[in-house]
Amino acid sequence: MKRVLPPNLTDREFDLALKAFAKVVGEDWVLASDQDRSTYADIYAPGPEDQWPPSGAIAPGSVAEVQEVVRIANRFKTPLWTVSRGKNLGYGAAAPRLPGALVLDLGRMNKVQHVDTELGYCVVEPGVSFFDLYEHLERMNANLMMSVPGNAWGSVMGNALDHGVGYTPYGLNARHICGMEVVMPDGGLMRTGMGAMEGNHSAHLFPFNYGPSWDQMFSQSNLGVVTSMGLWLMPQPETSLLLSMSVPNEEDIGWVIDTLTPLKIQGVIEQSIFVPSWLGKVVLMGTRKDFWDKPGRMPDWRVQEILKQNKLGFWTVGVRLYGDEAVVRAKADVVKRAFKRSTDIPMEESWWRQGEPVDVMDPSNGVPSAVALQMGDWVGGRSAHLGFSPVVPATSKHVLGQMRRSKKLIEDYDLDFYASFTIGGRFCNNINMLMYDRDDADGVRKVKALFDELIDVTRKAGYGEYRTHLNWMDPVAETFDFNDNAMTRYTEVIKDALDPNGILSPGKMGVWPAAYREHAQRGKHS
């Protein structure tokens, strides 16, 4: 990928900045060749990768180096785009929102600084992947369980900061962050929570500050660079039990949600409950042409055939209960009784007890896997995916409305419907997976137009996305439109006060510093 300079910088100024960075991190960790730039591009880009080009990357190896890099960036006005490991696949990977920003790659900072087995938490640096943390916990026999997302290749910290979800009782990853160390936009350093006191013993235990709390201010944020954070970990349960069933019809999602949500709110079910549609299972069985070799969406009759042949329902319900066997047994009875009120389909039981092998394809077991990315094989070619991800109340009224609305639109665009609802509490994260071949220009155009329309239609119905790809960070920010987008305006006042040069991740989640605000794509779509 050819060099694209940061806005307002000449080649000479940029080269001087790179030299200054190299003095801090070492020449080998200033990554600015054509090949380096390509390795930081969005590999799933909906459209040409050079739509979001980095000018290069800087990879500091310590907090002190991060601080110095930020100071130099201020001096040379080189905007930085911070990534932990850059595996935000489907949302832009490592690529920056602002063309020419330098990727601040924190992947070298990959230490698990501390694990407390008694109180159940760890302190991790940004480069620690889910695999790294898992292996660390296993090697020390920590008897703690992680919350892992579908794609565990990425960073534990990056995922939590970007509001990623897992499928265990600790599945709301961002909610289990406790105590951070953050490099400020001027290169200063601060710690949040109890850790704001030097040597405080409760730095990663008490979830609030003395005074206003800042932890969440640094999630989905461009207000600081988080260099380490505490994350609570669940004690490894004595047993777990998976109760599963396939439900046949698309409209069944309504009663399924109305059955599960009260159990979740009561605490009978503790996990974040993942309910995927049939395609979530079928993408792991082969490629699309194995099931339907014509262009356009698979007709309903063929879907029904596939479901019948593979003994699948339209939705798969999998509820995992964790803990002491007697408690799990009692909870299972409550769950089964609740389902009996709506269906005669029996729930299959699958027990796991400590010491037994784990189904590694099921993230509710807290073991990392990247197998979910196999869906990339579904459409063939240089396949990629995008997630359209609104949040809806966890009731049948809202879930059915959302499902019908997005399904109709996706099918109007002649694409296969693949959705999941994950009940995280009183709400569901609804992920609509849109898969495409990056070399199919018409297909990419179609997916982008669909995405634009999904945002509009969903906003009009009263719902918004929790996370989105670079291309739609501004349009989605605009949907949060109360009082002339008061929340974004408030964030930008803070942004300008803390980061007057606008060097930290300009444009992240539609928050633009004054220095680069003209790059915002407001009032326009892709």
């Binding site: 080998d28 930081y40 992947s129 069985m285 092998p357 990315l373």
Partner: protein, 137 residues
């Protein structure tokens, strides 16, 4: 479902073979090996002294050891070519050369994304490519 079962059986067989061949006890809780990669060798990653085998395990293992996403995808591809399923494991392949491995790592290929020099340094990649290429350039 049949196809998924085949894949699961294939990778399970891999895991068992790996343990049997190496005569090693399965790791704690019988986790498959891809979740217990070799540790990242200590020292300067720009001039690594780690072996190609341990570097491959640590840097590539989350996808390319048994049960990994890359192994699963490659197993299906190799079966389609009439090869035995164990050819889905890169470490069993005899047709890889070091230059090819390096090109795929840096340029990507189909579902394989490009890896940057923080993920795999040039020094690490030299050793990994030499290991997978079995000395072939």
């Amino acid at each position: 479902m049949k196809r998924l079962s085949v894949i699961v059986l294939v990778v399970t067989a891999f895991a068992q073979n790996v343990f049997a061949e190496e005569g090693a006890a399965p790791p704690p809780m019988m986790m498959p090996t891809y979740q217990m990669r070799a540790p990242l060798p200590e020292g300067d990653r720009l001039e690594t002294t780690g072996s190609g085998e341990e570097l491959f395990s640590n840097r590539c293992g989350s996808c390319h050891l048994p049960f990994g996403m890359g192994t699963n995808v490659l197993t299906v591809q190799r079966l389609a070519l009439g090869e035995p399923p164990e050819m889905g494991l890169l470490t069993n392949r005899e047709d890889l050369g070091a230059a090819y491995v390096k090109a795929v790592v840096r340029n990507g290929k189909v579902g394989m994304p490009r890896l940057n020099r923080v993920e795999v340094t040039d020094s690490e990649l030299e050793r990994i490519a030499d290991f997978l290429g079995r000395g072939k350039p």
